[in-house]
Amino acid sequence: MLLDGIKRGETVLETKGITKRFPGVVANDHIDFEIKAGEIHAILGENGAGKTTLMNILFGLYQPDEGEILIGGKSVRLRSPLDAIDLGIGMVHQHRKLVSAHSVIENIILGHPNAGKILDLKKAEAEINVLCKKYGFKVDFDAKIWQLSEGEKQVVEILKVLYRGAEILILDEPTSALTPPETEKLLASIQAMSGDDLAIVPFITHKLPIVLAISDRVTVLRRGKVVSSMPTEQATEKSLAIEMVGREVIFRIERVKVERGPAILEVENLSALSDKGILALDGVSFSICEGEIFGIAGISGNGQQELVEALAGLREPENGTVILDGQDITTSSSLERWQLGLGYIPSDRIDVGSIADFSLIENTAMNYYFDEKYSRRGALDYGKIRALTEEIISEYGVATTSSDSLAKTLSGGNLQKLILARVLTRKPRLVIADIPTQGLDIGATEFVRNKLVEAKEAGACVLLISEDLDEILSLSDWVVPIYEGKFMDIIPGDKVKRESVGAMMAGLHLEAEI
């Protein structure tokens, strides 16, 4: 291995003038940077800044058009991820690549050369246990992957990479799906790993506080170029944000106080089963008034999905009632709810919120095909829908070549803009925004949040679901921690305490003096 004999602080990986072009764009434009053993080197950049391309080049998925990669001082050519793994580079993907029906240990040894034909699970377990002890990971080896939380899955991914002998660890959005306590544990482990001379390269879109908390060095990419690279102590949250976006960003949207109107959504004792038949939503009651954002904070899998689907008419509730604008809609179909003023932005924008092989016009039609204004005697008025789509594209700044393009050609942020616009232009009474900014870059996140505030100002009630506590705290008029299908509390937005909400998301009640 090229990395043998490298001491702490010496350069393990270096790129020189890495350039990668795709038709129409230069995704990476002469990128130089270096990683040292025992260093946590964060790569920061918005979506489209060239982060993913660079990551794929380092992991052997892409070949650079120009430039070279040096590992341990020697120029190497990474033809495939296998080459990268052999050289000690390990990657933990943002989207988990685990076999969910298999146990933790089976996943960790999957593909390991030492696993051989006959599995020696005992020996592997012992070896992995050493890693766990060293870096403070805790995981049940016999548990099946589907039983694990996102944070535990992440640990499995990291263990898998470490067990294969990686000494350079590339982490793609390492904390994006984790709860605050899980994030803290992970960061502690990352620091323990760096103390053991592993080089760690987290790629991060936003969450600047994390970058500042753990990294030793930070490199910011914008439009395929390195705009700055500096020791982290010289950076501030604000300076990094400006470098990433190229302009100043308003980080904290001030909570706008809107005159509270009558209740629009009234939910009484609503319960629902999960797909596995377990009571996932356990008798919640609440009401949201005109001009309010009701922010539900929680780690995914605590009943948010069931709540949202029960409200949108996609899941039959076990019991309870739902009243929208004074009308009982508990048994109404999803279509009837749309017609009564539901506006639902689903969490999965690719598989639920849009149809990849449909044009943008046809995607807009998803929320308009039933609208009499956009059809005539059963035939859709595609001319009108096209005009609306083009209006949306220009008003919301959706980057696309034409309204006839297929939805799959849009980037995540642009797709989310289209969905948001499509839903909000209907002027819904109830907006359900299910983790609406997940995976978006700072610019798009800011945009989405502003639009939600605008909807609230226009008199809608907004149900916001998020795992990002900062998002909930900065937008919501009511902050509602959810845990195991129950609301832990319903707290007015101006009286909320961050720590106590964080604890309640994990099921704990701090002895609070709220």
Partner: protein, 377 residues
């Protein structure tokens, strides 16, 4: 692969234009005919002469052409029975069963008005013919509703259900027309009683009026998918059921609807073949072979990519080859089954060529940087 200074490389297609799909299909047909000519050569027959016979008889012969057209009408209706569910992402493998039930429903109407027992029928033939048509469509639709309902309500695999129903209906036909069956021909012979000449479908230069129904439906379906709300809902469900459900499109109704529509059209094919096809006019003994031919609706539907207008030339070609193939078998003294073999080779080649819907070959100058690119996307 290297050719001269160039390298041949396989690339994934980003998009497929209509003309590219058409060109691929034509190429596939040419290749299939070339492949099949080997069979002629092995039998000691000049393939050029053989194909000349096939095509002249199928498309330019006063006896062959009407047969071709009748087969075409039948195949086109079966193709629609496949296409409609296909656009909703569902597979109707039950066109032959729906076809059988359509035919039985027609004969049930005849039986009810007393065709079998009396010779004089008190009702006007036009009205009875309309009833026969309606019954054929209704019968097919009801059979189609079974897999459609089970799919929508309980997510039961529609392929299995439609396939099983084919067997059930096959024997049900047998039960109805053979010895002791309600629709048995008085002379026995294992076929149904015959249609009186007053109730035979009106012909326009030896072609029954069902051709207008089939062609009219082609345009109606095209319009439905391209313009209407229901067509949009079907397509949305077909491309992404989860997104369709999110948008308020009922996951129960769409499968039921497409199978009812598809079944109804396969049922009409039953009317066409056994009550409008000149020279048949009864549920014939070899009804099972016709039922097998109905499966070519799947192939025609796949080749035309679910486009009802593109299905017209495809069904015409298959209809013609099935007729012409049968002729050369007899005329050139070849062994049994040339027509099915020809359709089979055509089918395999066309399916194999679907590969080119997703990939294409490109030539790039050898020696360029990106020769050994591993994975890219």
């Amino acid at each position: 692969m290297k050719i001269g200074g160039y390298q041949l490389k396989l690339e994934q297609r980003v998009s497929l234009a209509g003309w590219q799909a058409a060109l691929t299909s034509i190429l596939a047909i040419v290749v299939a005919l070339l492949l099949f000519s080997l069979l002629f050569i092995f039998a000691g027959i000049n393939p050029i002469i053989a194909y000349q016979e096939v095509f002249t008889y199928a498309f330019a012969n006063q006896f062959g052409l009407p047969l071709t057209i009748n087969r075409f009408i039948f195949l086109l209706l079966c193709t629609f029975a496949f296409i409609i569910p296909y656009r909703a992402g569902l597979w109707n493998i039950g066109m032959s069963g729906q076809f059988y039930i359509g035919a039985l429903s027609v004969y049930a109407v005849l039986f009810a008005v007393g065709v079998k027992s009396f010779n004089i029928i008190p009702i006007s033939p036009v009205i009875i013919i309309l009833f026969m048509l309606a019954a054929a469509a209704l019968g097919g639709a009801l059979l189609g509703a079974i897999p459609g309902y089970l799919k929508g309500k309980y997510n039961i695999n529609e392929i299995v259900v439609t396939m099983m129903l084919n067997f059930i209906t096959f024997y049900f036909v047998s039960f109805m027309i053979k010895e002791g069956g309600l629709f048995m021909n008085p002379g026995g012979r294992g076929e149904s009683f015959e249609l009186p000449s007053s109730l035979q479908a009106p012909l326009i230069s030896n072609v029954p009026f069902t051709i207008f129904i089939a062609l009219g439906i082609a345009f109606l379906l095209y319009y439905m998918f391209a313009k209407t709300r229901i067509g949009y809902q079907i397509r949305a469900y077909g491309k992404n059921p989860a997104a369709a459900e999110y948008a308020g499109i009922s996951k129960h109704k769409i499968p039921l609807l497409v199978f009812i529509l598809g079944g109804a059209l396969a049922g009409l094919a039953g009317y066409h073949y056994f009550a409008a096809f000149p020279g048949v006019y009864k549920i014939s003994r070899n009804y099972g072979q016709i039922g097998d031919l109905a499966f070519y609706g799947i192939i025609c539907g796949l080749i035309s990519q679910g486009n009802p207008l593109a299905a017209i030339p495809v069904a015409l070609l298959f209809g013609g080859l099935s007729v012409g193939g049968r002729l050369v078998q007899g005329k050139l003294h070849m062994s049994f089954g040339v027509d099915y073999a020809l359709l089979g080779v055509l089918m395999i080649t066309l399916v194999a060529f679907q590969f080119f819907y997703r990939y294409k070959f490109v030539f790039i100058k050898a020696g360029k940087e990106n020769i050994d690119v591993g994975v890219s996307n």
